[in-house]
Symmetry: D3
Subunit: 319 residues, 6 copies
């Protein structure tokens, strides 16, 4: 396979398969239609223009199609662009599939599910355990595929599950250091906190917000579901309210989207470890191709900071 | 009856019935117990101390008891206090009841219910109408008694219903001026927006926040209930999501407690008229005993402003 | 007449009269001059380029000229542009006038003046009445033509008067619901609050800020005029100070341009209804061509929100 | 005379004349009236209580009276208080006058007026000169007596004039260092910027805000007066607008009370030197009795900072 | 020994040894001196008054003295106070020492030092290792005794070392979960980040800020020391700058006292774990005596929140 | 010589020498390399493109080269650009040197050094004097060349020294008006406050931040150096701490980069005069080519304001 679009330099020839992430039709100044395609593989995205596109082209080169392209990587007004010399749809003979072109979590969905299930299995409070298991089961399929965000962090296939697994491990480490923490609450909070994203986001490829997501948000969605699950399972008791509080408060502040600030210790800890995992993930991604002694690109959700890799650190393994 | 505790001056004798709003036991520096009582009637509150309180006194002068008191209104460190000369529980012969001592809305609960019912009756969208009617019915009793807040505005018996009625009238006026507004949505939003307070607040006397209120808040509570009502009534359709959005966003901003900002026109209008009714109510209360040419006390939730009554305005009717 | 520039799609032929809203001369990379024209009709604006413009062209196609154009609507870097095939000045024979090409209020200036005059007529406080009448009369002509802003809301011919009429109706509705409001003060505040805009803004077409507007602002301008009017009319009394306070505080806060926060009930209400009318106007404009189930463009002065039209709402009448 | 109330220690006997700055009647818990008097001399204030005050006492010991007192300086709940052993009104024989008991500027009013007049005399722009001279003349008497604020800085007799003189000297120094500054504008801005305080504040003793001051503020008051002066003097020209801009913008930001931010160089410089003079004055006052190596009390308007006097600095001259 | 002052109820007799944490002399309204003593044991503090204190009393009951007291716990204006019936200095026969009365870390100073030394031993980068070892050695004695703050968190003897040990364990856990982290940098950052507090704070009992602490702060103090250490050890290389950056940025933001925001991954992680350890410590302290189903006192540095202990949690072990 | 690139109009021919400030290689859409050159002279900068650049061109037209160019000033998308018709490196025969093309302070480095030395000579406190002299001497060469910032104010050769000289004169004027100021401290603070910029910035041409500058900042750098200097000179005493405080606090607030707010009078004054000199410098630069009656470009660091030059002011001397 190709070395990945992110690893090409301006001036190089590109001959490779790609997934079309999005395709937009426009009219050029010569009044002819053209397509702007975002091509992607596991390493990144590249924009290209298909001039004088026919109706057949529109059909062949729609979003989510797989294609084979030859062209040159050029610099267009400071951004890389692919100048096409030839393009065709991939066929069965090409033996490529969508999964080859999208980033996904470094652990398989099955392994993640097994690990999460184990955490649920260890819970001692039956109310917390049953609600958690019920909701995970209900959304299991989408949960294992969903990204954790549209961009910024864990924005890949299974990103949500991977974020949850990382946070569970963090929660476990913390509860060994601070043994008074209620692990049932904390693990359940971790598993449920972003589960509403399966309804807030449109799915793993070219992720966007659903209307429900824009009007209610994943926090209120999952709070509703906890309430409904408790009713369905005929569970009463303060655990229901407390779990909802964990979910409602996990963004930490009103201006960050939480209608309540955390007022339970485990709710505050949930917020803290969500933060730690998301921030380390964002920094790692920003630094993964930076050479020692250089600064990364700016990272918007980290207050637009640019991160420095000390000169005495190792360079990235393959560049 | 008495002229009302708010109308007494320091130095006057007080002989009157009161409702005990709260009673707190403490130990004096002579090691004897005493009670701090907050006495109230329709016009306001007064603090008093019952020194050397016996266990019988504790029982007789508990919160929500009716009593008869004689004493003097004194100034204690800049605040008015009642110095008791005699105190006794009210008896059947005194012919007083709790309702005589608490402020309540200027319209009767029955009239308000009838008016609100009429607004629901006029709704054309059956999904919106059924959800609204269902939830109002479910909480009707507490809704008609509940205050709209623990303090600041509409903090009296039936204050919530009165706030809703005022806002419905405002909504009606607005929709005549701006005829493109969807009155079904707007009326339903008005009726439901604070309905969660029947679970967030402890009731009409000596109102405080419930644990559920502190952990979830009235906004999430009623959003959950709309969801549950739709399921129970087997209603599907965007109306359910939109109604939840109206409720979730009615505080207008994250830092004011709303997990979503209003992104539907009627949601923004709901937020605006909630604001208008609450602010006018707070200003009226601050100014109702201020003489022309003078400033009111500071009003904390109105950015701590002190309001001026112009010299050419009328004085309060009876002072 | 034409169906209006806003209703054309990219790729359509355009043959229509327009008003030139602005004309700017530049030098192209071939060192020849060209004109950038903003053409407008009642439905909106379109940019066009007139390449190789001669000195005669500059004279013929100056700002505020009426023209006849043939061309194509194209997409230029994501924005619509008109590609001219022929252009000529309109002549007497064309029978078009400026008024046909500018948006204006949905009520005639005469009707608005009559309605406002009626509100003044009903005032009972002679000091307030005389100052209001005097200042309205002084600026009557510009007031009836002026927009209420350079953009965002009521930014059309007679927009200021229309904003005032809407607010007067709102004020009247409110005073019926809250009868303790002083309608003299409130109506006068509404009529005067933005009257300084006749000196702050440059007029109804291609509106910009005057130097006086930038250095003083409409709030201080009209505060000065109230003071001068009172002196001229030999009016003394607190009404003069109170009216100035209403005007000075109507933006509500220092950071929004008011040197004083409202500390009179009617001043706060003036601020609230100014807000309500401006916000509803902005939302209506953003939503007027949005299909049900879709989001509007972002509205900058409404915290950059994008508004949603519920799927169960009506589509715009003609599209 | 006495060494000044600020120089007494707890436990010392006090025998001295004082000015009564304010007198407030209250009712004690024994139902008898008492007076709370704030006594002042040039060095500071002290609170005292006059128990069992008769109607004659009320008349004799009213605000602005001069008295002779004997008593002890005690500590009452952490604050100094004077415990009276005897008190009597001062008589003609005592040979004391109000001027002996109030702080005033270190330069005489006559000298300050002369210095300010000289600055006006040197102005070259006749429009600026005439407006400045006219307004200073109009308010000359109150200007020479007024404090510059109710507290915080220059809060003494002639404090306003002294603040203006200091700023004029600063402006002169600056214009020598930055010779492109327009000194006419700058000097006029300095003289006029706070002149509205003669109507905003109640006068030099026990200073409070007038109603006009609370509703309009000194910034709008003097902006109005510049406008009126120009009309009266039949002056036209941009100088009038520019002078108003300097005054309107001299607080620098909306949230600090300026309806416009400075957009003229001299307006920004006026704001800067106002700041410099006020801040140095506040720091000097906070540090004037602090020993080297110690911290001052907190200064609220300087972000509540407590200032340190380095150990290698001189102690205050007399303590 | 006594059950600890925090465990007494109002009305109980107290007979116990205490450490005098602070002693302040004042003058009562009867002109006699009295002492306000803050008495402390390991469980908390109590205020008491010693009326009519003689010069001998002042000497006997100075700060840091050990005493024996008999008295009653009373409520004085809503706060607990100890009413003394007898008081005497502790003597050798009483067999008590200061260490019995101050809170200290739950691990011994020796064990903590050994653990920290082990982390330093494992470092691979010699520059980082040498600087860290040098500075720890230089301040070892004060480091092992110092609290981590004057109040809020880890404000007890050896609190600083305990905070460091907890953070090192956290850092270790994190680096197992995120293996790309540079543990040398992270461990060194943890050990050094608050080391400046040995010069910023006055020591373990009745802790206050030194003048140097107020003028420079612990962040700049230790940054200077790293610089000086590198010079003394003749170490050159980017490690010196990077270590200083970790220390300078560990508060995360300018408004929280850091002159630089973290722009190195380990600097951000240092900030995050400092936060986690401090916040969990503060919540634990607030909740440690709260019954299930109740709220704690408000915690100022945690945005003044009051924390809830769920009803299904365990009660505190001994109350 | 040329009249300066800033004084050319679009459409004019340019024939002139320039310094290449930066040269960037890119690949055009025809796959050929081209250079983007920023050419500068004392009056400003201009961008130009060198199409089809050969490797020799890259060498000849590198950053910091002097060249001779002929071409046309054109408008390219709203910004001026130079269209090259011929370009060649300058040779010895051209008799031009770098110093002819860079802006520098209006006073010579020698004169500034002499003036600063005189201020140091007048200091009376030997500790302050020795530290100041030592550090100035240590960095004298770079100090005399360094700009004061990468842009915004004093961003030219010797800009730092010129900023210091202006501030020293301001400090002197102020200390004459407020004679209690400690001039030793103030002068030393002025000389040292930005001295860390010699290590934070990369030098006088095409100035950027060094890695050390980004990780530590000039404030911490010079604070470290004061500490080291005192150690080297064996100076002890509070002066060292106080000087460090002045430097650490001179940005005034945490969010502006100061780890400590000023708590010494001279530290606050240092902050104030730094502000005054920087702001006046920025306004002068913005206004220096603006015609009377017009507004300047927006000035980002002055809250993005656009400044007005009153119509009655003088036009710029030569335009």
């Amino acid at each position: 396979m190709s070395k990945g679009i992110r690893n090409y330099q301006v001036g190089e020839k590109v001959e490779s398969y790609f997934l079309i992430k999005s395709a937009t039709k426009s009219i050029a100044s010569n009044s002819k239609p053209f397509l702007t395609l975002i091509l992607s593989d596991k390493t990144g995205d590249i924009e290209t223009k298909l001039w004088g596109a026919s109706p057949e082209d529109e059909a062949s080169f729609a979003s989510r199609s797989l294609i084979y392209v030859q062209g040159d990587l050029i610099d267009y007004r400071g951004r890389n662009q692919l100048k096409i010399s030839s393009i065709r749809p991939a066929t069965a003979l090409d033996n490529v599939k969508i999964g080859d072109f999208v980033r996904s979590a470094p652990i398989s969905a099955e392994d993640m599910l097994e690990e999460i299930t184990q955490y649920i299995f260890e819970m001692k409070n039956p109310n917390i355990q049953r609600i958690t298991r019920h909701l995970l089961k209900k959304h299991q399929q989408e949960f294992l595929e969903s990204p954790a965000a549209t961009r910024n962090h864990h924005e890949f296939v299974s990103g949500l599950a991977f974020h949850v697994v990382s946070m569970l491990r963090l929660a476990k480490s913390l509860s060994e250091l601070y043994p008074t923490l209620d692990t049932d609450l904390l693990y359940s909070g971790v598993i449920l906190h972003d589960l509403g994203k399966v309804r807030e986001l449109s799915g793993p490829i070219d992720t966007s917000y659903t209307i429900e997501g824009k009007l209610l948000g994943h926090i209120s969605i999952i709070s509703n579901e906890i309430d409904a699950a408790a009713r369905e399972l005929k569970i009463e008791g303060e655990e229901v309210t407390v779990l909802q509080h964990l979910v409602l408060s996990h963004h930490g502040k009103g201006e960050w989207g939480s209608p309540k600030v955390p007022v339970i210790r485990e709710a505050e800890v949930l917020h803290l470890i969500d933060n730690v995992d998301a921030k380390i993930n964002m920094m790692d991604r920003a630094l993964d191709r930076v050479l020692p002694g250089a600064f990364s690109e700016r990272v918007m959700p980290l207050e637009n900071r640019s991160f420095y890799k000390p000169a005495f650190h190792e360079p990235p393994i393959e560049m």
